[in-house]
Amino acid sequence: MTQPILSARKVIKRFGGLTAVNAVDLEIKEHSIHSVIGPNGAGKTTFFNCLTGFYRPEQGDIAFDGTSIIGLTPDRIIRLGIARTYQNIRLFSNLTTLDNVLIGEHIHLHSGILGSVLRLPRTVKEESDALHESRRLLRYVGLRGKGDVIAKNLSYGDQRRLEIARALASKPKMLLLDEPTAGMNPRETEEARLFIRNLRDELGITILLIEHDMRVVMGISEAITVLDYGQKIAEGTPRDIQNNTRVIEAYLGKDAYKEDLTPEQALARPQ
């Protein structure tokens, strides 16, 4: 349990003169829910992109489950068990809901061209199992009966659910959620919070979460890492973070503590 499933050491990612991620260290325990917070532009999504192979960091090392993933392409990294969702939903928007999830299962399917053209028994079996699994996942995330809907016609909340179903279809060990409750109303946010916790409790998936809604972050995280200007400025339990003056400064400016807010109030302020 104490062995970290993911450990990043001194990860640096630069864009020209800007250092978007600056020597970040991060360790994530297996089966934990770990949040990354920070003001806009702090480098949270860039860090996610380094973890999933979209970007290659200039320096540092990232090890997942004991293997280094630096330099691997995204299609290799998902095979190791890291799946993700996106800040601005990125579905295969002209395909059906079911097809989106089936594509999520891609790495677990093996049928080749000949098998598909001739409908060999093994391919038929594999496809029908895959379809079965996709329907099961759609039910799990609450999209029962919406399998034939074209993804772009789904409601906003359903699109978020579908993105998670697609990620789950790859049977990940760790799931990276990039602002899963953005744009949701309080009721939907509460549902999402419970859902994320269930993902960990029922499926045993480690969750790494970028989130702005402090009620979600403080409510479900076991550990929180705070980034600002690409650097890690704090790390700890929700309680530690809530009482950390550097964090409040980062969010509200240097003189924020003079406003006589409690740290909880400061963090609860809308971004």
Binding site: T73, I77, S93, N94, L95, T96, L102, I103, D148
Partner: protein
């Protein structure tokens, strides 16, 4: 109100300029040699009139807030404005000798525009016709949906029966039992008035009834047990096949030739559909693989080039070499997207053609003289040496290739292609191997074009570099756009419309590219998804077959009354 009127007049002016344009380039006159309704209305005039009707329809559609009667008036104003443009032109042509500049402004054209009347009266007819057609366009817009549909379809049918009269007459002639239909429907140069009315009424009624009953019939069909549904579908497919087999027997050599041409393009279209339609990789040099298939078969079979193989031995080699070149093109462009990919593939297409033309490869490929005396395909003693026999070869080829394309579309690889088309980065993050998946699209697309090229070589018996120009790539892409990107039935419809129709209408030849362009612009405006758009499969209906998991779990849980 005023803004509506401005809009309508502006539309009328645009319409008038379009009508003037197709008159000035000689289309109206060239097409007036063929009558739609014999002695009453020619194809040239039909095109002009349909332009008016359609233009007024579009103009009225834009004036949303107006009352029905106002809309009819707007339609009439649109038509009138457009015909005023034409009338001014006719008057101008009386004063100035326009033929110095526009060779097509002949007395015949003027006579056509004034309905053969002398000037003042003729102009009146022209203006009146414009206003009436404009109003008619507005009325069509105001009709209930089903009536409107029936009217438009009936009008199209009458026009098509007139346009394709040669083809249809030959068909009726050769089937003894219905040869008398010719006498009823047709006179010397087009449909008879009675024939046109019969067709119009018949098609309109059938269309109306069909649309009114379709939902019910569909429901009844769906209510049938799965077994009967499958039998019904199988019977449908068998009938379609029987028709396809009989078609050239009935229609003869000329139509056989046209169908061969369509078949070659269907093969290419199915291939490019995988590259562009499924995987979203815009390939403008697709003709290269067609050329490679053709040249491989040419070199390997023509005795002039020292070829010793038969068509059947050379065909698979041609396909393999086309696939190989698919990889060779694919590898350098793996990281290139969108417009850049289009330009590079365009260059690749030209490189292959220029290589075939070059002195460097002349000893092998014959340079500009090409490769002569390519033998015909043979099975035993049976040679595919006339268009009708070749049709069957192409039919088998198309069915096989369409089958492969259909199966692939619905496979793991097909889904991977479509994922790349939708979002390349996310597709890769879902574990799809970019290199393999893209190369497979290029390779399979190349294979289909290679088959088409191989048959093309044996069909023509001689091939030259100039048969493999850019316009073939453009044609194949255009037929995909017309038919519907990613849709396999769309490829067939697109090929029939874009390759078959122009072959049947020889007088179209000079205006072929113009009509292509206009059709593409209209398609993009009015039906960007194509004539037969790609349909997503419906699969969740089967969910009823599965045990309702959630319900069972609920009933298993202890029941607690909640308030």
């Amino acid at each position: 109100m005023r803004s509506h009127l401005n809009e309508v007049i502006r539309f009328g002016l645009i319409l008038g300029i379009i009508a003037l344009f197709i008159s000035l380039i000689g289309m109206v006159e060239a097409f007036s040699k063929r009558d739609i309704i014999s002695g009453v209305i020619s194809l040239g005039l039909t095109i002009l009139l349909l332009t008016f009707l359609f233009g007024a329809y579009l103009a009225v559609r834009r004036a949303r807030s107006a009352q029905p009667l106002m809309r009819v008036a707007f339609g009439a104003i649109t038509g009138l404005t457009a015909s005023i443009v034409l009338a001014v032109f006719v008057l101008f042509a009386q004063v100035v000798d326009l033929r110095q500049i526009f060779v097509n402004v002949t007395p015949t054209l003027i006579a056509l525009l004034t309905f053969g009347q002398s000037l003042p009266g003729g102009l009146f007819y022209l203006l009146a016709a414009g206003a009436v057609l404009g109003a008619l366009g507005a009325i069509v817009y105001l009709l209930p949906k089903r009536v409107q549909h029936a009217f438009v379809i009936a009008l199209l049918w009458v026009t098509m029966l007139g346009v394709l009269q040669d083809l249809i007459r030959v068909t009726f002639q050769s089937i003894g039992a219905i040869s008398d239909l010719n006498k009823v429907l047709y006179e010397q140069n087009g449909l008879s008035v009675v024939g046109a009315l019969i067709v119009f009424a018949l098609v309109a009624i059938v269309d109306y009834v069909w649309n009114a009953q379709r939902a019910k019939l569909q429901a009844r069909f769906n209510a049938l047990p799965a077994g009967s549904q499958r039998i019904a579908r199988t019977i449908g497919i068998i009938i379609a096949f029987a028709l396809l087999l009989l078609l050239p027997q009935v229609l003869g050599i000329y139509i056989g030739e046209v169908l061969d041409q369509v078949g070659l393009f269907v093969l290419m279209g199915l291939g490019l559909n995988i590259v562009v339609g499924f995987a979203g990789l815009l390939d403008l040099g697709y003709v290269a693989f067609f050329a490679i298939g053709a040249y491989t078969v040419g070199v390997l079979t023509s005795p002039q080039q020292g070829g010793v193989l038969s068509f059947w031995e050379a065909l698979p080699i041609g396909v393999v070499i086309a696939i190989l070149f698919g990889f060779i093109l694919g590898i350098p462009v793996l990281k290139i997207r969108g417009d850049y990919l289009a330009i590079i593939t365009l260059g690749f297409g030209e490189i292959i053609r220029l290589l075939a033309l070059s002195d460097f490869l002349k000893p092998f490929l014959g340079g500009s003289q090409g490769i002569p005396s390519i033998p015909k395909a043979q099975i035993g003693g049976f040679a595919f040496d006339d268009p009708v026999k070749l049709y069957y070869l192409l039919l088998v080829g198309c069915v096989l290739v369409a089958f492969v394309a259909l199966r692939l579309k619905d496979s793991r690889l097909g889904r991977a292609w479509m994922a790349i088309r939708e979002d390349e980065d996310v597709a890769q993050a879902m574990g799809i191997d970019m290199v393999w998946t893209k190369l497979m699209a290029f390779a399979i697309g190349a294979a289909f074009a290679g088959i088409s090229g191989a048959i093309f070589a044996s069909k023509l018996s001689a091939i030259y570099p100039h048969s493999f120009k850019l316009d073939i790539s453009i044609n194949v892409l255009a037929l995909l756009i017309i038919g519907g990107m990613g849709s396999i039935p769309g490829v067939i419809v697109g090929a029939l419309a874009l390759v078959g129709l122009p072959e049947l209408l020889r007088e179209f030849e000079d205006y072929r590219l113009l009509i292509y362009g206009a059709t593409l612009v209209l398609m993009m405006q009015l039906r960007p998804e194509g004539l037969l758009p790609e349909e997503s499969r419906r699969r969740e209906l089967h969910e009823q077959d599965e045990p309702p998991v959630a319900v069972r779990e609920q009933t298993a849980a202890p029941v607690v009354t909640t308030n």
